[in-house]
């Protein structure tokens, strides 16, 4: 098993489980993350995203299963892994009694960087993130977006090979979110990025590959396009009738190539096995008074809702 695990992947996870008492926060979870990619982990509240990140970043031990981060086992090579990773945790963990710059200096010292190197690096990163002018202020005087950027700077200071971001943009307004996105995109390629998010738009915008998880299990994996294609199982059309909706809905519902159907008002939504079925549908509707037929794009949000259900989580 161990030889298989030493692959070229940045992260390898095999049959990972984590139990809190009787609750399985992670349940037989497996995943590979390729080096240099941006990987997005999507899931509703309580899905197990933070638990997974805590295990990968050596903060917590799994109940069973195997994990490798840059080929190393977090249970035995914690220190080595921690020197290779940068972590932006879900909570803001800035030190509010230190200025922004002092926060960064402390972090650099904990990484054993020498002063000459970290001073230059701090100057560069603060400049890049547009925080130079505020470096001697306490983080409490920063806006939420600036604080988040500061935490990202802190995580990047020691030039990690692998960056973990646990909900990097939660609580930010759309402008700040865009700024964080832009920054993440700009550093992409130079390192592997593993991020979690609730926002489908974010995953779609940033990530090369996306995993959707719920109740501690992986339920879908692929690029955003693959997920949309695979999971909608073909195409959805909206057909708007002038009259006799009920009659045609019955007719469509009975057809073999119609996978699913919803009626609302004068409109019938039909999910087809494949787009080739459209001609069959059109033939069946011969004579009907159709106002409009349109192709409905499914968003990642639809996919997400389909997979994880619509109920609000505790």
């Amino acid at each position: 098993m161990s030889t298989q695990l030493h692959s070229s992947s940045a992260i390898t996870i095999r049959s990972l489980s984590k139990h809190y008492g009787g609750l399985a926060a992670l349940d037989d979870f497996s995943l590979e993350v390729e080096r240099g990619s941006i990987f997005g982990l999507l899931g509703p509240n309580g899905a197990g995203k933070t638990t997974l990140i805590r295990i990968l970043t050596t903060l917590m031990r799994q109940s069973s299963g195997e994990v490798r981060v840059e080929g190393l086992d977090p249970r035995t090579h914690g220190r080595e892994i921690r020197s290779l990773i940068g972590v932006v945790s879900q909570e803001n963990s800035l030190d509010r009694y230190l200025t922004a710059r002092e926060n960064l200096e402390l972090h650099a010292r904990l990484h054993g960087m020498d002063a000459g190197r970290y001073r230059r690096r701090i100057d560069d990163l603060m400049e890049l993130m547009g925080l130079s002018g505020r470096q001697h202020d306490l983080p409490e005087s920063y806006s939420g977006g600036m604080q988040r950027r500061l935490v990202i700077v802190r995580a990047l200071l020691h030039e990690p090979r692998l960056l973990f971001l646990d909900e990097p943009t939660t609580g930010l307004d759309p402008q700040s979110r865009r700024a964080v996105w832009e920054y993440i995109s700009s550093i992409a390629g130079s390192m592997t990025i593993f991020l979690t998010t609730h926002y489908l738009e974010e995953a779609e915008h940033l990530c090369d590959r996306i995993a959707i998880m719920d109740h501690g299990r992986l339920i879908a994996l692929g690029s955003s396009q693959e997920l949309k294609d695979k999971l909608t199982g073909g195409t959805v059309y909206q057909i708007e009738f002038n009259d006799q909706v009920g009659r045609y809905a019955g007719l469509l519902g009975g057809m073999a190539c119609v996978r699913e159907m919803q009626v609302s008002g004068q409109t019938v939504c039909v999910g087809l096995e494949s787009w080739e079925c459209l001609s069959e549908v059109v033939t069946a509707l011969n004579g009907a008074s159709v106002r409009r037929i349109s192709l409905k794009e499914r968003t990642l949000e639809d996919v997400f809702m389909d997979l994880t259900g619509k109920g609000v989580r505790e």
Partner: protein, 252 residues
């Protein structure tokens, strides 16, 4: 290089202390000084000599020791709780390549430093307002108690700040255990005031060894080895316990 992380975190704590040192010292000095003025000077006429020395002199070493151990305990307990539960800074330290032991050792050192600095300042203030002068051997002997005493209470504070998640609990433990332990250990009255049956029990307390030993050291220039050994061994045991408990708690 094992203590690189400890040093970095300790420096952080000292930087923060330096910024607030003046206001902290005013608060820290006010309490023992009030007690000193009220009991040592206000009650002087009623109490007279205790164990052969003026009452003000009798309580002075204890007040300094009390300030130091209280400051050490308080710094450790609140800092641990705050950095663990409120600010999550401990978590941000834990994702860097330092060990958990380095973090807890840093916190113990910081509590210890707070205790020593504040104790010494209160000592200076008390000496400044009293006519008593001590030979330097006495001061050295006294420091031999103050140093392990502050370390002991810093470690105890780290343990409490590690296991207690609620601030109310921390306050209660201080009121029910820490303060009584300090006050019952011969701070204000000699052990001979206790009923004979109780004395062996009180003597067995490490706090008694600390307060009695520190007084004998400062007032008489003795170095009571049994007391000193007791304080040092207890400090060592509590240190080991603190490191172990912190590691255990964080590995949950």
């Amino acid at each position: 290089m094992i203590l690189r992380g400890s040093l970095a975190i300790w420096r952080r704590d000292m930087l923060v202390l330096r910024r607030s040192i003046l206001s902290e010292l005013v608060a820290v000095v006010a309490y023992p000084l009030t007690i000193y003025l009220a009991f040592g000077i206000g009650m002087k006429g009623y109490i007279g000599l205790v164990d052969g020395v003026p009452y003000a002199l009798f309580i002075a070493p204890g007040l300094i020791t009390m300030t130091a151990v209280n400051a050490a305990y308080n710094e450790s307990v609140w800092s641990l709780w705050f950095h663990r539960r409120v600010q999550f800074t401990i978590e941000s330290y834990r994702v860097t390549p330092i060990s958990v032991s380095e973090i807890v050792i840093a916190k113990i050192l910081s509590g210890f430093s707070h205790g020593l600095i504040k104790g010494l300042v209160v000592g200076l203030v008390i000496f400044a307002i009293t006519p008593f002068r001590f030979p330097s051997e006495n001061l050295v002997a006294y420091l031999a108690f103050l140093v392990p005493g502050s370390a002991l209470f810093s470690c105890a504070g780290v343990i409490c700040g590690t296991v207690m998640d609620k601030p109310e609990t921390i306050g209660k433990v201080e009121a029910v255990f820490v303060m009584p332990l300090i006050f019952m250990s011969g701070l204000f009255f000699p052990l001979s005031s206790y009923p004979a049956a109780v004395i062996p029990w009180v003597r067995a307390l490490p706090t008694t060894a600390l307060f009695e030993g520190a007084r004998q050291a400062l007032v008489a220039g003795d170095l009571p080895y049994a007391f000193l050994g007791q304080v040092m061994v207890t400090a060592l045991l509590v240190f080991i316990a603190a490191v172990w408990i912190f590691r255990w708690k964080l590995s949950e």
